[in-house]
Amino acid sequence: MKDRLVNIAEWLDSRTGLPTALKKFMGEEIPASSGWHQVFGSVALFLFLTQAFTGVLLAFNYAPTPGDSYNSVRYILTELTAGRLMRGLHHWGASMMIIVVVLHMVQVFLYGAYKKPRETTWILGVVLLLLTLGYGLTGYLLPWDNRAYWGTVVATNIAASAPLAGPYLLRLLGRGPDGIGVVTFARFFGLHVLILPPLTAVLIGLHVFLVRKHGVAPGPGDELLPKKQFHPEQVFKDTVAIFVAFAILFTMAVAVRVPLEQLADPTVASTTPRPEWYFLFLFQMLKLFNGPLEVVGSMVLPGLAVLAMILVPFIDRGPIMKITKRIAATGVVLLAALGWGGLTAAAMIADRNSGANEVAIDYSAPTDWMQLSPEEMAGVAYFREENCSSCHAVGGEGSSGVGPDLAKIAIHGDAGALIRHFKTPEAVRPGTSMPSIALTDAQLGSLAAFLLKLNPDNATALQDAPDFAVMGALVYQNNRCASCHKVNGVGGAVGPPLNGLARRRSRSWVEDHFLDPSKLTPGSFMPAYHLSQKDLDNLTSYLFALPDNPPAPQTPGS
């Protein structure tokens, strides 16, 4: 058996030469000082391959057109097993790749490894950094939610501000006079999956070729020591570093939910566009330059920074020194880190202060709760308040044992029968250990209405209803808003229906309106409501989260 394997290996070697090439590659001699500080390049390459892998898997279930793309991303997240994991790996992998590429460059910079004859290796590295940022920029648009759309509006506006080239860049990015649309989307998708990956692969190949051609950069004193072989010691160190990076990435993908916002809507101007965290510093820097100087922040300074990076090996041409003696280089890195960190922190603080009131709904989870009437939503609130789930599971989730799974048993009878059951469980089901529920008839009615809506298909989706919406619906019910207003097709017709309110009015208008309706709407019959700030927030957020159009009535018998 072993002989046969050796034969096959020899045959392969004589016909292709690949085993010998691999042997040479792994047996490459590296300086004695090589070690843990040189693992970042391998980690970056690994992350690139992982991005390609998860990217292809996502593309297998992705429709590259606006609208459909959003639906297909939701499909990946809510209906495919491991879909959320794949998107998480791709999303966090992008961030990690940028971190690792920067760490790689910082290491090369601090050690002066870009010096003669390795200038072109360094320049290729700068280009690869820009390509990595290019993935971030183009990939950001692809889920086509509000965040993606408005972030790209800003990015293309920056491109438009370029002197002379601006209009041509816009044309190239497919942006017409009416903003971004299908053409821009197709261009970004094409760049992200057709142009950038092969380009990156070729440049990485060249980069590695040059590293091998000139050898790994030696440290001072290395010329006196015997060389080591790449395999197995350095391969081991690279592998450990890759494993650590992968473990962090995997944990992030599992533990941190990547949000998906509402479908991109060019008419919703209330969205505050935000770029991805690694572009925040640029975003913040733009704020420092106004009017005609804007181009300095958007083009001139970033351009100069890139130029400076390219010129680094031609400016610093001294002999290789110990890292501890490279004070100027260390100073440059510290200054850059300080500048980047300061701008990013400023942007984050500004965000936190301005976005305090925004309630983001996570559309990456099922949003079936949006279809419920306020009465049914209030039922969810009572269901949570009364801790029903301590005895009852719902759709297989939660407690099991004492009471039946409320999604699986067919709930017989009507709301009236259920209310009797809640009040006197013993009378309806002798011997039951269920305590009677101390709520008013109207509250029990809400609870019954919610339970009658439950079925195994929607149970967990309804359980996912966010707290603000549940509490908002409770405020809505307690103030009897439904006597005059319709929500999801249920309620009175005296006042206007409340679906689509977010489209008609601003948040502050609605909040002011509660305090003094006739002031903002002359002739309105609506009484003033003096709600607590928390109730007001929850109620307004709930109303703003409603679907624009009430859901179609369900056909009976289906």
């Binding site: 042997k23 047996g27 898997l57 279930n61 499909y75 209906e79 395999h231 197995p232 890759i242 992968f246």
Partner: protein, 174 residues
């Protein structure tokens, strides 16, 4: 791979142990990474999507006028869940009132390669024009390459209306 390693002559004993440790760690860690990426990828590709929408019953048409033994092609619209899309599409079924008054609805695609077949009044047979598969009134294969009898819709009757559910593939082989 063994040839890749430098000759052991240059190694003392502790060098060999360390080398062994490196090899185990390298293969072990890469094994874990491959499994942690590969297994979810297989799950992602092969586990069917969660069906969150219930199969609906669709009204196909009035069956009060059906004559026994005379198939009628009924057209209707139904919602088809296609990945992330729900499309309303026009489709049809061959509806037969069997001699025993049972109502049967066949899927309009031949079980060979999915061509639409039709009823030949003169021969009392369903004939598929693509490769000449022939089916009897009860859906059984009479002739041709079709591997199994015609597939049937699940049916339900409410008054005069025929309601159709999902298509169940017939499992008898011809």
């Amino acid at each position: 791979m063994k040839d890749v390693l430098p000759s052991s002559e240059t190694m003392d004993n502790s060098g060999t142990t360390r080398r062994g440790f490196y090899m185990v760690a390298i293969y072990g860690l890469w094994g874990i990474i491959t499994a942690a990426l590969g297994l979810p990828a297989l799950v992602y590709l092969f586990v069917p999507p969660k069906a969150r929408r219930q199969n609906e019953w669709v009204e196909a048409g009035d069956i009060s006028q059906l004559a026994p033994g005379a198939p009628v092609e009924m057209s209707f619209r139904r919602n088809r869940v296609d990945g992330w899309k729900v499309t309303s599409e026009k489709t049809s079924a061959w509806v037969v009132k069997m001699p025993n008054d049972q109502i049967v609805a066949y899927s309009p695609a031949c079980t060979h390669l999915g061509c639409p077949y039709h009823w030949e009044q003169t021969k009392n047979e369903f004939i598929c024009p693509c490769h000449n598969s022939v089916f009897a009134l009860d859906g059984k294969v009479v002739d041709g390459p079709a591997p199994r009898p015609l597939d049937r819709f699940e049916t339900k009757i409410e008054g005069k209306q025929l309601l159709l559910g999902p298509v169940r593939q017939s499992d008898q082989t011809a």
